[in-house]
Subunit: 342 residues, 2 copies
């Protein structure tokens, strides 16, 4: 049995869902994996760097009105991520700031600081993989720590599947639907709504950003495609080498006609090995016919289809993932990072 | 780097495919996982117990005409599994005899002998899980060895997925299509053929047994359902507690009409938690509508849909698995069993 000091860098919806899930799974984590935990650090832009090596009160963290009181109890002289990690005696850091993933910083710097401080780092930030996977992975190896990120793509254990369950395979190609907002917009258009109705619906469901262009123009899907290719195909793929075309060019009539013909439009990501170890990848609206492996994903479900050298084809579908699915990606990474230590 | 002595108990099609795959992936196993291997034991009903601690010639094992010569080179005084494992100085044993899975023996005895001899044991024999999972798992734990069986169900890494990638989840229910032979028979009937045409087609594809009743009457699907429930739901489920109904009762007209209506028949396995920790499970022909998570599996593809306490739904589809898929299940288990030792 070992008690791990956890630090959350970022404490928005995903952070709160993670803390609730940690509390919910405490007994199971203790009994099955010998893992005890306490939260010794929380940092947000508004509240600053809160740290207490004895542990912060979990219930109070979750109550909006009590957060300020928690903050006042922590170490007050902490002014940056390194001091914060030290004051919290951090064993595992969750990097879950809500950032512009097209830029790697400051998330990459946070992950680097966490690993250099001797902590495992678990992130939901795709940008860290796109911009610095090799560096951060090598740093983690050198320090004997883990850098894990199953929460970044499609709310399914994709990276851990390849790492743990598919040793010695070679990934030839993949295709997938990785973006919920465009799914919702396209379905709204299929039902006769306008593009903007779909955007509002996605926003009301909490899946779209206030500025939906990141989803709609395919940036989100492109970043995820890039992360998958970089890690699973061992081919760093600069974001600007991905052909990217969003769904703005689709008019409602075409979208309705495609659905009526049984071949609805989806924003599809795909990548395959090209010449000289390169990977060719693209994001674009495609019509999905009934027999297509991607046809299984309706609504907000996400899907990924892999072509491997050994297994002819393997498809994973996450049905209607939610905030808890993302939080679980973080939790499972944490358990996997430390289960060998208990 | 470490060289592992491998023993194959059973050397039919799956065994040959495994040896070919080991040879094909040798460089990757060495470079990526530090694993070297040699085959020091092979046993078949016809050839007896062949063992040579220095290693048997792999190329000759694969050439039918040279197998007898290999046999003559081995230790000749070996007369049972224990002597064979000792003579081969076995590090990892593959239990891949082709047996009647409704009976646990002699496969359970083989696995027990392997673990007691200090070897890891990897099996494709579902019967060992149905009849003796708890005993064999506990024995493996006690000896610090692994007992792994990803090759037993649906040609996908299902057991390793739960073990490695889905820590601390609770499986509430699953549904799946686990039997290729019935898929082929039903599709033949959909195209206007008779039941027996379907059986012949499945036999010509090499997926059905000479006596197809094991597939057709749902025994194969029931054994797989039982294995999944036993391991993933931690609920030993005696085979005779599974409601089982095969596809013999379906007439060609109903099968064709169901397909025409877009709701084709499939032999579906399902299980869910019932009262007092029990699991209720069944195997029967069901019509699968378009929106059903199981609708993604056409042809000989296999599929499994999980309902978890945390993730709303997760589906895995193996598209047209073949002999190599089964062999890969054995190879990946072997790599996972030993990768921590190198």
């Amino acid at each position: 049995m070992k008690t791990f000091n956890l630090c959350l860098l970022g404490f928005g919806n995903v952070g709160r869902a993670l803390v609730r899930l940690l509390a919910e799974k405490s007994v199971e984590m203790r009994e099955r994996y010998g893992i005890e935990w306490r939260i010794t650090g929380v940092a947000t832009r508004r509240m600053g760097w809160i740290a207490s090596a004895e542990g912060l009160p979990v219930e109070s963290l979750l109550r909006a009105g009590e957060f300020a009181a928690v903050a006042s109890r922590g170490e007050s002289r902490v002014t940056n991520v390194r001091e914060w990690l030290a004051a919290a005696r951090c064993d595992a850091m969750f990097e879950i700031t809500s950032l512009e993933p097209l830029a790697g910083e400051p998330a990459v710097g946070h992950v680097r600081a966490g690993l250099e401080a001797g902590a495992h780092v678990v992130t939901a930030n795709k940008g860290t993989i796109v911009h610095a996977y090799r560096e951060l992975h090598a740093l983690a190896e050198a320090r004997g720590r883990r850098f894990l990120f199953d929460a970044t793509v499609a709310d399914m254990p994709v990276f851990s599947l390849f790492r743990e369950c598919l040793p010695a395979v070679r990934l030839r190609a993949f295709r997938g639907i990785f973006n919920s907002t465009t799914n919702i917009i396209l379905e709204e258009m299929e039902r006769g709504g306008a593009f903007d109705d779909g955007v509002r619906r996605a926003q009301s469901l909490g899946v779209a950003e206030t500025d939906p262009s990141y989803d709609v123009d395919g940036w989100d899907a492109a970043v995820k495609t890039c992360a998958l290719a970089t890690v699973l195909m061992d081919a760093p793929l600069p974001l600007d080498e991905i052909e990217r075309e969003g769904i703005r060019g689709l008019d409602p009539e075409s979208v309705r006609a495609a659905r009526a013909a049984g071949k609805p439009y989806k924003l599809v990501s795909s990548a395959e090995r090209a010449d000289e170890g390169r990977v060719a990848a693209r994001v674009r609206a495609e019509q999905i016919a009934a027999g297509d492996p991607l046809a299984a994903a309706g609504g907000t479900s996400l899907i990924i289809h892999f072509e491997l050298d050994i297994l002819p084809g393997l498809t994973l579908t996450a049905h209607h993932p939610d905030l808890q699915s993302t939080a679980y990606g973080l939790l499972s990474d944490f358990i996997n990072a430390v289960r060998a230590e208990t």
